[in-house]
């Protein structure tokens, strides 16, 4: 009789909620919330409550697979690793790329980037952060010096004003929405800027319904009002920032009238909201993909930083610029260097001193040139320049923009290895598939959106012959001849991370057992950092940038008259690999749908539940229409979870020039009827 409650981190979003996996004699019997956890406090969302379902799914990969004559056959681990090792050694380093995973632990991501750099000798290692917050990392580094959420989740409760822009917090980060709602009930003012009606808008003091892709203009409008009414924090600007004149000059022309023309937000609402934001003591900005996933993603992020600095809302409790990270460990995967231009702790590969440090630590020569980003990898593969890819725990066949192009690219590779817990759409294209262990079957750490590094703990043995990703990467590295992958446990890997990564310098497992630690945590004595930039910005002074508004890359026209914007729902997660294998979630939302405004629907003769065709210049899908007021006229919304009506068949893979994030939030589409018989939408 062995009954255990194993405390671990929910594997879905970046809130970092903890729960117990309940285990009876080695079998998962349920999930129990953890009342003493700092964020979740004994509460969970529907995904969290059901996060053990997919672990025991019959679809789990249990054996290595190799494709033979178009069919997968089971092979031994030894054979699989032999094949992969031989193949990867056969190509020049520049023709190999690796995708790491925001669903894997810090330790695993660190090893994946070490494998890329120290063994394969390429910097082409990236992961899906490129698709969600690449613009945050760039934008907040150039303004503040640190590309992460400035404050802690719980602090939101005590803000005087919260400005949520481009974040459907209730659905995407439910346990963070909890703190926004608690704040609201204590009297905090709430401003929500979102083209859609989202659950938060009904509680907002102001809902600013901007046209998708006009965020820079909207925020410049805020700053124009603040400056013209003298509501800026003059002392903060003088003491702590630089570049103010540049900002002032640019913002001048963004009068409320001008901004109304661009964004569609009435000037009265804009003026009142701007005053509300600037007049109180502590204002917090919360944003997510609505800000980042644009060709102007970096501009949007910098604009948020500008607004916060202008009003002195950085470096204090309950203020700051708070990007909410979507994946459980997307923060950590970035922190430990699964990015093509930096090692762990955002240390540049171009910096010779840094490179020398890592060469010494890993006892090998390292490549100098920055590597390829996610979308660039696909482009190079399509062109035939990239020959082989090793993808761990990612599903670009659903998550990346312009899926037809992704498919073409992956099929054009000479060799593709996919390591996952399920045979995903991407894994189906692989030459070799390796079965990874799920979060419930291994030890490690995840870093939540507010930089909190927390332990995940093994509750049950890996299913079948699956193995924790860190063990697989180590075995492959050894096969490839490296002597630098000898670890007995994830704790030992963390010790190495701490030794080469200043912001993780004080992270050791013994210190992480209770509530974890927030980076920067520079030494074994350092208490961690609940909020950043106190007294001094990470880069010294905060830097303003004057940002001009630019239109999205593809605007509606006569042929494609609608703006498509994409996103998620509370009941599913990303490409559905986990959530669509969960009964309770499928029951709520079994398939995809397209939100269309009732007026537009009427004009097109579309009724609720009718199957329609949505087309862009890149592809076409059939999807059920949901006739609603949630989207304004001229805008349609499609969640991207569903392979059978994949929103990313339509999206535009055009990138932000610096952060290389694709523009998921705006592209032009047309909508047409495909059949006359209505079929009630099951949503």
């Amino acid at each position: 009789m062995e009954y255990k409650n194993v405390l671990t981190v929910c594997p879905y979003c970046g809130c970092g909620c903890n729960f117990y996996l309940q285990v009876l004699d080695g079998e998962l019997i349920g999930i129990l919330p953890c009342k003493s956890h700092i964020v979740s406090e004994g509460k969970l969302c529907i995904k969290g409550w059901n996060a053990s379902d997919f672990v025991v799914s019959k679809d789990r990969l249990t054996k290595p697979l190799m494709k033979k004559d178009g069919e997968f056959i089971e092979i031994s681990w030894d054979k699989a690793l032999d094949v992969i090792s031989a193949k990867l050694k056969q190509y020049s380093p520049d023709s190999v790329a690796l995708l790491s995973s925001a669903k894997c632990t810090n330790e695993e991501n660190y090893l994946m980037m070490k494998l890329a750099r120290a063994v394969i000798k390429t910097n082409s290692v990236d992961h899906c952060a490129r698709l969600c917050h690449a613009s945050t990392v760039v934008g907040l580094v150039k303004t503040f010096g640190s590309g992460a959420m400035t404050n802690s989740i719980g602090e939101l409760e005590d803000a005087d004003c919260i400005f949520v822009i481009g974040s459907n917090t209730t659905e995407q980060h439910p346990l963070i929405a909890r703190y926004i709602m608690r704040a609201k009930e204590k009297g905090t003012k709430l401003i929500v800027a979102d083209p859609r009606l989202i659950p938060l808008t009904q509680f907002a003091d102001y809902h600013l319904r901007q046209r998708p892709g006009t965020d820079v203009a909207l925020i410049n409008g805020f700053m124009n009002v603040i400056l013209s009414e003298g509501l800026e924090d003059k002392e903060f600007i003088k003491e702590r920032t630089e570049g103010f004149e540049e900002l002032k000059e640019v913002v001048k022309k963004y009068t409320p009238e001008y901004v109304e023309k661009i964004t569609g937000v009435s000037k009265e609402l804009l003026i009142e909201a701007a005053r509300m934001f600037a007049e109180v003591k502590s204002s917090s900005i919360v944003y997510s993909m609505g800000i980042t996933q644009h060709t102007t993603g970096v501009d949007n992020v910098v604009s948020c930083a500008n607004l916060a600095m202008l009003t002195g809302n950085v470096g204090r409790l309950s203020t700051g610029v708070n990007p909410l990270r979507g994946q459980v460990n997307v923060q950590g995967a970035c922190d430990v260097g699964a990015l093509p231009n930096v090692y762990s702790g955002y240390q540049s590969v171009a910096d010779e001193n840094v490179r020398t440090k890592f060469e010494k630590a890993w006892r090998t020569k390292l490549p100098q040139n920055s590597g390829l980003t996610v979308v660039e990898m696909m482009n190079e593969a399509a062109k035939g320049n990239l020959k082989a890819m090793y993808i761990m725990g990612e599903n670009p066949m659903l998550s990346d923009p312009d899926i037809n192009h992704v498919k073409e690219a992956l099929e054009n590779l000479e060799f593709l290895v996919v390591q996952d817990i399920f045979l995903t759409e991407t894994a189906q294209l692989a030459d070799v598939v390796l079965p990874g262990a799920s979060y419930a079957e291994k030890d490690g750490t995840f870093t939540a959106t507010d930089r909190r590094v927390q332990r995940i703990r093994k509750a049950i043995d890996p299913v079948g012959e699956s193995k924790p990703d860190w063990q697989i990467v180590c075995e492959l590295a050894r096969k490839m001849g490296s002597g630098e992958f000898e670890y007995s446990s994830p704790a030992e890997i963390m010790d190495e991370i701490a030794s080469v990564t200043p912001i993780y310098g004080g992270m050791v497992y013994e210190r992480l057992e209770d509530i974890g630690l927030q980076w920067p945590c520079l030494s074994k004595e350092h208490p961690g950092t609940p909020y950043l930039h106190k007294g001094r910005f990470s880069r010294g002074k905060g830097r303003f940038f004057g940002i001009e508004f630019k239109e999205a890359a593809e605007l509606p026209d006569e042929e494609y008259p609608f703006i498509l914007t994409t996103g998620r729902t509370i009941f599913h997660f990303h490409t559905g690999t986990m959530s669509r294998r969960t009964e309770a979630l499928n029951r709520e939302v079994p398939t995809g749908y397209m939100e269309i405004n009732f007026k537009d629907a009427k004009e097109l003769g579309i009724v609720d539940g009718e199957k329609v065709s949505a087309q862009s210049r890149r592809g076409e899908i059939e999807v059920k229409a949901m006739v609603t007021k949630r989207v304004p006229q001229g805008v349609i919304f499609i969640p991207f979870h569903f392979a059978e009506s994949a929103a990313n068949m339509l999206t535009n893979s055009v990138l932000d020039p610096v952060a290389k994030i694709p523009e998921y939030k705006v592209c032009a589409v047309k909508v047409e009827k495909v059949q006359l018989k209505p079929d009630p939408v099951n949503h």
């Binding site: 019997i29 956890h37 969302c45 929405a177 509370i570 949503h683």
Partner: protein, 277 residues
């Protein structure tokens, strides 16, 4: 007081009165239910903060003691139970969800503070072995304040509260008495699936009505709510109505049949594990 609880648990275990103790354990500052099999382990036994011991595991929809009883019928389990744990046990036993005869209750009283925090009217078990019985919270201030207001105001209050719901099902999941195989909340018939917030008020009121004769006022529903909806306020009102109408209280006596499970001539309709409604 915790010393006394640990001492008694040790006695039970060493004397062989029970084969294992089911209670709460502290580990690195976190509290969770635990099965204590060794005397040495009992130093980490705690009694607060409160945690649901008869929590329903999903997908099996069975509580931990029941799962243990099915697998290890020969082992008698001692349960370190507070008032609400004991009431849950009684109500579950009444409904064939656990075998109470094979459980030994180590009853522990709650403090006044705990009673106030839980708005608990009976913060002690019948089998009180450790601690002093303190008076419960008799008045339901939240409800009284609301009842003073007019209907439109009350309606607006609940409409606002329920509009916060994010449909996590936490209120149901955390409830020791929510063990139905087919849950009415999940059925399209009553409340449209996949919507936020779920239909107001039907989604929540199905749950309140379903628990009318089961709710033992532990308050775990309210504590599990990410949006702080004051669910217990309504549960308490419904429980009060059932008491006034039928002179029935859930969790009082294993032998007392629920009025909602009897026919008009008072013959029991019965409720078994297999057809738990």
């Amino acid at each position: 007081m915790i010393g006394k609880v640990q001492e008694l648990a040790k006695q039970y275990l060493t004397s062989g009165k029970v084969g294992a103790i089911f209670g709460l354990r502290e580990n690195n500052g976190h509290i969770a239910p635990h099965i204590f099999k060794e005397v040495e382990e009992l130093d980490s036994l705690v009694i607060s903060p409160k945690y649901p011991l008869f929590y329903t595991c999903r997908p099996s929809k069975k509580n931990i003691p029941r799962l243990l009883q099915e697998k290890y019928p020969e082992i008698k389990v001692g349960v370190v139970a507070k008032g609400c744990d004991e009431r849950a046990l009684i109500e579950l036993a009444k409904r064939d969800q656990v075998d109470i005869k094979n459980i030994e209750i180590l009853g522990v009283a709650c403090t006044k503070e705990e009673a106030v925090e839980c708005k608990c009217s009976k913060p002690y078990p019948y089998n009180l072995l450790i601690g002093e019985r303190v008076e419960g919270v008799s008045e339901d201030k939240d409800a009284e304040d609301l009842l003073k207001k007019g209907l439109p105001e009350r309606l607006a209050f609940w409409q606002y509260q329920l509009s916060k719901c994010i449909k996590c099902y936490g209120c149901r999941n955390a409830c020791p008495l929510c063990f139905c195989k087919d849950c009415a909340l999940e059925q399209e018939l009553w409340s449209k699936r996949g919507e936020l917030p779920p239909e107001i008020p039907v989604f929540h009121f199905i749950r309140f009505y379903h628990l009318a004769d089961r709710c033992i006022e532990c308050g775990e529903c309210e504590k599990a709510c990410p949006m702080d909806i004051p669910l217990l306020t309504i549960s308490k009102q419904v429980r009060k109505d059932v008491k006034e109408l039928f002179d029935y209280e859930a969790g009082l006596d294993v032998g007392q049949e629920s009025p909602l499970l009897t026919t008009l001539d008072e013959t029991p309709m019965g409720e078994t594990i297999s057809d738990g409604v």
